[in-house]
Symmetry: none
Subunit: 149 residues, 2 copies
């Protein structure tokens, strides 16, 4: 399972170490690479084992080759995905696209999400999680109010 968070450094060559805990989980599942794509809802990169993307491909493949939806789905998902291979020391190289989407400069924050994990710029993540916390407390009071009525 991917849990906890890890902050690692992006070097001059654009490489970053994937946390050893994540790597050992991946290899225990039989993977030696990961697939990733920019999140649709926030400025993180989502990572998942390759077979997850393969499932998406299979479901797209059920659509007719001349249906508009096929191109729309595959373009918005597959064209923006990357397969990242680990080097011999467990690092991956991040492309310009991925850096731009996240705003990552110096540090990379890995955030475990159970079956997947994310990469964030540490600052962006702090904003995001603070925001999430506020929203949660607003909703909580809303919920309490509804409960008493």
């Amino acid at each position: 399972m991917f849990i906890s968070t890890y902050e690692n450094k992006l070097d001059k060559k654009g490489r970053v170490s994937v946390p050893a805990a994540y790597r050992s989980y991946l290899s225990s599942q039989g993977y030696n690479s990961v697939v990733c794509y920019p999140s649709f809802t926030n400025s993180s990169i989502e990572f998942c084992p390759q077979d997850r993307l393969e499932k998406i491909i299979e479901s797209i493949d059920t659509l007719s080759p001349f249906e508009e939806n096929r191109d729309i789905f595959s373009t918005s998902i597959l064209a923006n995905s990357f397969q990242l291979n680990f080097d011999t020391d467990g690092r991956v190289t991040l492309s310009e696209k991925l850096l731009n989407h996240t705003g990552i400069k110096e540090k990379v924050l890995f955030v475990g999400q159970g079956k997947t994990f994310q990469m964030w710029d540490p600052m962006s993540f702090k904003k995001f999680s603070d925001d999430a916390r506020k929203k949660a407390s607003l909703k909580r009071s809303e919920l309490k109010w509804k409960q008493t009525n």
Copy 2:
């Protein structure tokens, strides 16, 4: 599988390098050439292994109710299809027909579509992709439904 995008240069001789990642996937599947045809719905060229084209033609056969339509449809694909062989450095040569359909001049954008890939003029693709992203967020729930069924 074919994912991500790669922008390569068209040289004076009309050659372009097929991304190494795509070539290695093709050869892992036992192919050393590709078949391509102009898309019916947009200004890209569709690439696929040869047996896939045969499958597409079969599916046209079963889908179209009128025999006449079938013939027109499948011959129009076949007549406009090319088999492109890789040279010793992994390049293919693009014919005038293909260049005209796409509007490609200097740069060739390869776009992964899972089991197939496309070639685009970078500008045309940007337009298409911005549009696709908007439509995808509207229709994503539709895809999810199909995945579970």
